[in-house]
């Protein structure tokens, strides 16, 4: 493909109508909560942009994030996103393999030094010199450091890359760490979720292309447009929470009536993501709508939050594990203090005589 052309020219050549393109720009502006005028800016920005070189690195991951991004639902968004960017390296989606694949990565890095974006899914194992995950004979850590050296920005997608995810869950046998632990001298955008919402990934990339800058991020480096609000605050079951109407199990009358799932372990109140608004699979549904509480998958350490089916307001672990010992100790000290008081009294009485 001729990378000298602008994206606008390329899309016209491919028969993508201006109407389709503007619809995509408006959609992206609206899901990122940008003002309506931003749609034009996005359209112009993307039309005038050159294809962005993207290197996608997959480390300790399950490919769920890739599965998710390929299901971005706006009509032709998948085509658009793969036209906007030049995906120069991606294990699952590229044709090349072996040496040819690694050469493609090297070539992209050389030709676009300082300009390419690195997308990472998966955590990086550090224990035992990182031997637990290697690609093309080098560890994930070596590949990451080598690739991000000349990158413009890094986008960590999925909870493994952003917070360690399942590989990093207790007891974390491989010493898995998130990307932000390693890349400290470049901007890192975290798009968490297991997997992340496809539009959160494509929207963020579109923003980078359109404005040439990084969108506003929260304290965990996540774009506020997608991670600014708690699921609970946008949940259509919220009124039932306020009214005190809760499903007690997954098959009771409350569950059938669509009542709040707090009591069966929903983590919506502490989970920041756009599931309740953007939803999944073309806006069809999201976990809570399909009858299951939120797992909190876009939050750090969601795997170790004390159980998916334990309500948020319960104690984590077993708070009564020392209760027996505490009672015995309390009784022993109480008895000892009473005995001491008695003997002191007796002594005083005796001396008094």
């Amino acid at each position: 493909m001729n990378d000298k052309k602008t994206l606008g020219e390329m899309l016209t050549e491919r028969g993508v109508s201006r109407r389709t393109f503007l619809k995509y720009a408006s959609y992206t502006a609206s899901i990122m909560a940008l003002p309506p005028t931003a749609a034009t800016a996005i359209a112009q920005g993307i039309a005038n942009a050159r294809r962005q070189s993207v290197i996608w690195l997959s480390f300790q991951e399950c490919t769920g994030c890739t599965e998710s991004i390929t299901r971005a639902h706006t009509p032709s968004i998948e085509d658009l996103i793969f036209d906007f960017i030049s995906l120069d390296y991606h294990h699952t989606l590229q044709n090349a393999s072996g040496h040819a694949a690694e050469e493609a990565r090297m070539q992209a890095m050389q030709e676009n030094a300082g300009k390419y974006i690195v997308v990472v899914d998966g955590s990086v194992p550090l224990k035992d010199d990182g031997v637990y995950s290697t690609i093309a004979g080098i560890t994930n850590l070596q590949m990451l450091e080598e690739t991000v050296k000349d990158a413009y920005a890094v986008i960590a997608v999925g909870s493994c890359a952003t917070f360690g995810g399942i590989p990093g869950a207790n007891p974390n046998p491989t010493g898995a760490v998130p990307i932000t632990d390693i890349v400290t001298d470049k901007p890192v955008i975290n798009i968490s979720g297991c997997p992340p919402i496809p539009e959160a990934m494509t929207g963020t990339i579109s923003y980078l292309l359109s404005f040439g800058s990084i969108p506003e991020l929260d304290h965990l480096n996540r774009p506020k447009a997608f991670f600014g609000e708690a699921i609970h605050d946008r949940c259509y079951r919220r009124p039932f929470y306020e009214r005190g109407m809760f499903a007690k199990s997954f098959d009771d009358e409350g569950a059938r009536q669509g009542w709040c799932l707090f009591e069966v372990g929903c983590k919506g109140p502490v989970t920041y993501n756009a599931c309740a608004t953007l939803k999944w699979n073309g806006g069809t549904s999201f976990p809570i709508q399909s009858g299951h509480g939120c797992l909190g998958c876009s939050e750090p350490g969601f795997w170790d939050l004390g159980g998916f089916y334990k309500p948020l307001s319960t104690a984590k672990g077993d708070p009564l594990k020392w209760a027996g010992g505490a009672a015995v100790a309390g009784a022993a000290v109480g008895a000892a203090s009473a005995i001491m008081a008695r003997s002191k009294r007796n002594r005083i009485l005796k001396e008094g005589k």
Binding site: F246, V270, T314, P319, G325, G330, R342
Partner: protein, 219 residues
């Protein structure tokens, strides 16, 4: 999130352990103390101990006519925040769920908005109790650290709970973490101060009733 995890995990486990140990310690040490046998002849008006105890418990539920005017507000205010606290603690679903997870018992909950209204009334009532303590010179002078601190550890869970429910000032997980930590503080302090009346209020009143009855006090 780390704060919430700390609060739900180690902080709560520690607080519950100290609470249990402290309460058992206080009760055992109290009941194992000697009781001086009172060999004096009881008054002619002396009632059986059980009757005297129950009468005293009931009698103290309402002010005596001699003190009615002076103590009425304090007594009603006391009822307001005690009942308010009980409703908040036992009828908000997240609290019921917490208790169910701990001991397996559960019961129906009240709507959040009802609890919210009760919480505001309770907060006002608690503040009124503090203002009364501070504004009355005699009461201020006899107040000890225990009085002030007991008020604080009671007030904090209510105020943090209300703030967490209304999402004011910080993210919900932070507010919820602070709320649970304030409860942990309450649990840790409870056995060692006047808040032990959670368990001892009727014990002490029974003892007083029996004593007064033996002396023949006409109540």
């Amino acid at each position: 999130m780390e704060l919430l995890e700390f609060a739900r995990g180690p902080a709560l486990t520690f607080a519950i352990t100290v609470f249990i140990a402290g309460v058992v310690f206080r009760i055992v040490s109290l009941f194992l103390l000697w009781r001086t046998s009172d060999s004096s002849a009881g008054s002619a008006r002396e009632r059986p101990v059980i009757v005297a105890a129950i009468r005293e418990i009931i009698r103290r539920l309402w002010p005596q006519s001699a003190y009615k005017q002076r103590t009425m507000f304090m007594l009603i205010n006391g009822y307001v925040f005690h009942i308010g606290l009980a409703i908040i603690v036992f009828f908000l679903l997240p609290h019921i769920v917490f208790i169910k997870d701990l001991v397996g018992l559960s019961w129906p909950s009240l709507p959040n908005n009802v609890i919210y209204a009760v919480s505001i009334i309770t907060l006002v009532s608690l503040i009124a109790a503090l203002v009364m303590r501070m504004s009355n010179p005699a009461q201020r002078i006899i107040s000890t650290f225990d009085d002030w601190f007991s008020w604080l550890v009671t007030f904090l869970p209510v105020i943090t709970g209300v703030i967490a429910t209304s999402h004011l000032g910080a993210r919900y997980e932070t507010l919820l973490g602070l709320h649970i930590l304030s409860v942990a503080l309450l649990l840790v302090y409870l056995p060692f101060g006047k808040l032990m009346h959670w368990f001892l209020v009727f014990v002490t009143r029974s003892q007083t009733g029996a004593h007064l009855s033996h002396r023949g006090a006409q109540l």
